[in-house]
Symmetry: C2
Subunit: 222 residues, 2 copies
Amino acid sequence: VIKFGEGLEQLRNKLLEMSSLVEMGIVRSVHAAVHKDRSAAEEVLKNEPRINSIELEIDRLALDLLALHQPMARNLRFIVAALKINTDLERMGDLSFNIAQSAQSLIDATATTATVDIPAIAGLVQSMVRKSIDAFVEGNVDLAREVLTSDAAVDSLRTACYQKVIASMEKDKASVRPALDLLAVARNLERLADHATNIAEDVLFYVEGIDVRHNSEIGERR
Amino acid sequence: VIKFGEGLEQLRNKLLEMSSLVEMGIVRSVHAAVHKDRSAAEEVLKNEPRINSIELEIDRLALDLLALHQPMARNLRFIVAALKINTDLERMGDLSFNIAQSAQSLIDATATTATVDIPAIAGLVQSMVRKSIDAFVEGNVDLAREVLTSDAAVDSLRTACYQKVIASMEKDKASVRPALDLLAVARNLERLADHATNIAEDVLFYVEGIDVRHNSEIGERR
């Protein structure tokens, strides 16, 4: 039987390992799309099974800790938050996988389209993801609140990017397919930001015991 | 202090209430997109806050049950599954909200585009959602397995729909914007199917204690 303190430490370390893989997935898949780097895309596709298997390990560990130690209050909230964050991280891995597939399709395309705004959106999203995980590991509510306020910025960058890409599709029908791939990259980045926001909300819940979801005072999410 | 049996019953009832709202959201938002029904779209947008507030109630109840009664084995798995399904249902509410917004945009568009295949995809997705929730409430693993096998059919219907819509965009640049809205509807339907699949996986986990995620024998998901 695992000791409770050791179990919590293991849980934290596994979430850190998973979030490193997820962050690397975001960085490399965006690099693949922007710089047409085929090997970076393949690397992201290849890493996905590892993310999936850590997800299963984390769920199993969290469940064992709940069953064997019946934690209360902050420790209980920590474990419930870990379960939720685990789900978010796994889906973030899927989103990088999607971006890597769009990158492959962009690399194969004969027509080209400018990767406008994608690096700027990606930079902001990466910093949100990093902050949300640091906030969890450190129990840092200020970092978590920074993540909530960044979400709106990503949405407006993405909207601007959309308008440009759609205009290019209307001008040149040869660019329709690569432009759709580019829209998919922007959309998947926005969804990554949404997951970082979910994680930040879970951090506030576990540290402060308050539920900020659907609360317009702190930073709106739908 | 709530009794454990009563608490489980409340949890089940709240999840049923939430899933009814989610199902109605899918039906009405797709109806709005296919039949250009503005009032159906508005109805979906208006119902969303109710879904959000039930999400908070369910999380609070599940956490109280964990803290006060320290359940084990199947009861513990039921509550953990309820927490996960709750998250899926809330995001499914968001996806119907997105479809209702695409419907509004399709209604406002001057150009038109055929809503090819959307009713067929929506019908399949609705039945997956219904089956996944029934599987949870009844603890019915056969129903859960049916959901897992339907997911691939949705993916291939969506791919076919995509090809047709993209071809229409390449032919007629006036149709680019409504076609993008239609693609968004198809994509959101596919994501709804993914969430139904998540719910079915959680049912198998809670009933049988086995984790079928990322297990290629039973029905693949990424």
